[in-house]
């Protein structure tokens, strides 16, 4: 009897603890003193998540009173939640207008925090022979017209397409700027949930080709990148506009952000953090000589 009473109490205690924990998630920002304080919540794009996490760590080192909670969930989730007001920042690989209705998208403020460059990647064995593809060849490969590497200057090996889900932001960018919006041959390609798995699949299969953002290619020795029309997928080529397969990483806020949130977004876009941004394979928005 005593034991079960104790158990009940303990359970009640645990529940109360969690309920209290949930309650304190609400945003409260004191804009009194010099030091920033408050809570920032963000969700959305999994491609942007590692960057946001790293930035949050550096930011917290400066402003210890600001607590930042970051979640993934995908661009759709981020846009929806920021639009509903359940998070402060919605991270997205794609512009809000493509997913939200016009009225809802108009309520959001876009902060283009970084530039993401998408590179075609192949198995190293192919990469040694095929270093560059023309845009036309790339389109023929991904639409399933060309099915053997020997047709595009490689060895006699079947091409294996590795792709991302239809709703992926990386895929949206790649198909818009590399494939000129032509539909990928989804009936001939393997689909992987995330870029890490995609890299592994390409490393494991000799004839494989896919695409990932440059942030996955930092310190990469698993796969080889392919140039498009002789232009290598690098940040430099993205900045000067030679390489066209890139897009912005967006952080959306509903209306103008409060002090703490604004400070966080400004911090990510600052020159100081920009160097770290580039080290992680993202481009700095202010360095772009072209814009979209």
């Amino acid at each position: 009897m005593k034991f079960s009473k104790f158990l009940t109490l303990a359970l009640a205690g645990v529940m109360a603890f969690y309920i209290a924990g949930c309650g304190s998630g609400a945003t409260e920002t004191k804009s009194g003193g010099n030091a920033l304080s408050g809570t920032i919540t963000a969700s959305g794009s999994s491609a942007l998540l590692p960057l946001a996490k790293d930035a949050a760590n550096d930011f917290k080192a400066k402003y210890a009173d600001v607590s930042i909670t970051l979640n993934g969930g995908g661009s759709g989730t981020g846009l929806k939640q920021v639009s509903e007001g359940s998070v402060n920042i919605g991270n997205s690989d794609v512009a809000a207008e493509t997913k939200l209705s016009k009225e809802k998208a108009a309520e959001l403020v876009d902060h283009k925090v970084a530039v993401v460059t998408i590179a075609p990647v192949v198995n190293k064995k192919i990469g040694d022979v095929v270093q560059s593809l023309t845009k036309q060849q790339l389109q023929d490969i991904f639409t399933g017209k060309v099915t053997n590497w020997k047709d595009v200057g490689g060895p006699d090996l079947k091409i294996m397409l590795v792709t991302r889900p239809a709703t992926s932001g990386t895929r949206a960018l790649f198909s818009e700027y590399a494939l000129d919006k032509q539909a990928e041959a989804t009936n001939k390609s393997l689909e992987t949930d995330d870029s890490g798995t995609l890299m592994q699949t390409i490393a494991d299969n000799e004839g494989a080709i896919g695409y990932v953002s440059l942030s996955y290619l930092v310190n990469n020795d698993k796969v080889a990148t392919v140039s498009i029309d002789g232009v290598a997928p690098t940040l430099e080529n993205t900045y000067n506009g030679k390489y066209s397969v890139w897009g912005y990483e967006h952080m959306y806020t509903k209306g103008n952000p409060n002090e703490a949130i604004k400070a966080f977004i400004d911090f990510i876009m600052s020159d100081e953090y920009g160097q770290k941004l580039e080290k992680q394979g993202y481009g700095v928005t202010s360095k772009m000589k072209v814009s979209r």
């Binding site: 995908g74 759709g76 889900p165």
Partner: protein
Amino acid sequence: MQDNSRVIRQDISWKIIISLGGFFMIALTFALGFFLFYRGIGTFTTYDHSVFEFLFSSTWAPADSHDGGGKVGAAIFIFGSISTCLLALLISLPFSIGVAIFMTEISPGFGRKIIQPIVEIFVGIPSVVYGWLGLTVLVPVIKDVFDTQYGFSVLAASLVLAIMIFPTITSVSADAIRSVPKNFRQAAFGLGSTRWQVIYKIVLPAAKNGILTGVILGLARAFGEALAVAMVIGKTKVFPVSILSPTTNLTSAIAADMGGAMDGGEYNIALWTMALLLFFISLGCIFLIHYISESDGENI
């Protein structure tokens, strides 16, 4: 007198707590079903697709926006789910029933002490572990042995599923076989039956309903499994031409696109419809189990 009222009070308060728990479960199930129905029906009401298109068309191209106008044929996913599950059952069934018979009829002591715990360990292994093993061990092996391009295949998915449903079918079947009354066996032995004849002609038919319940429970688990299957099936949106070719299924389609698809958009709602279909499938399985166990008395 005072002591008595304390006991009564205790009695009542526990009754309330337990009833609340029970009603909460019922309410939760109904809420879940209602919510799935409310979201999933949108494909047919909001976006004007026919049920026929959803179930039998293989053109899958829903628009990721509120405008709609895409195609929501989920036949490939449905076929992928059904084919992998049935193949898994085909692979798993002989082993499951064999082991169940061995641990109850042939070697009950060894079965109860060693095999039973081992089978139970299988249940406790998280599905991501099965998927990972499938991805790193099974897929390359299939690729090498059959010399195929991918290795990701219906066969890989079915094998992983077969291992996952094996413990469910085995333990439920073993329970069913154990609950066959001893005098059935004694009577059969008394009439001069061999052990094989007793098992085949007496014990298995008597335990048939219990075994079927295990099969359906296993099948329901197989239909709902997402992670492990998604890792080895390849997720290629095409009907498989053989058991060695990749395809996709309902659960991995939902898992792959649920985060990226815009909430309330045609794509998102089509995924909800898939979830609703899965809910109906497991609901059907549960009804089947009840139907079978109700007819239990008549056969014996």
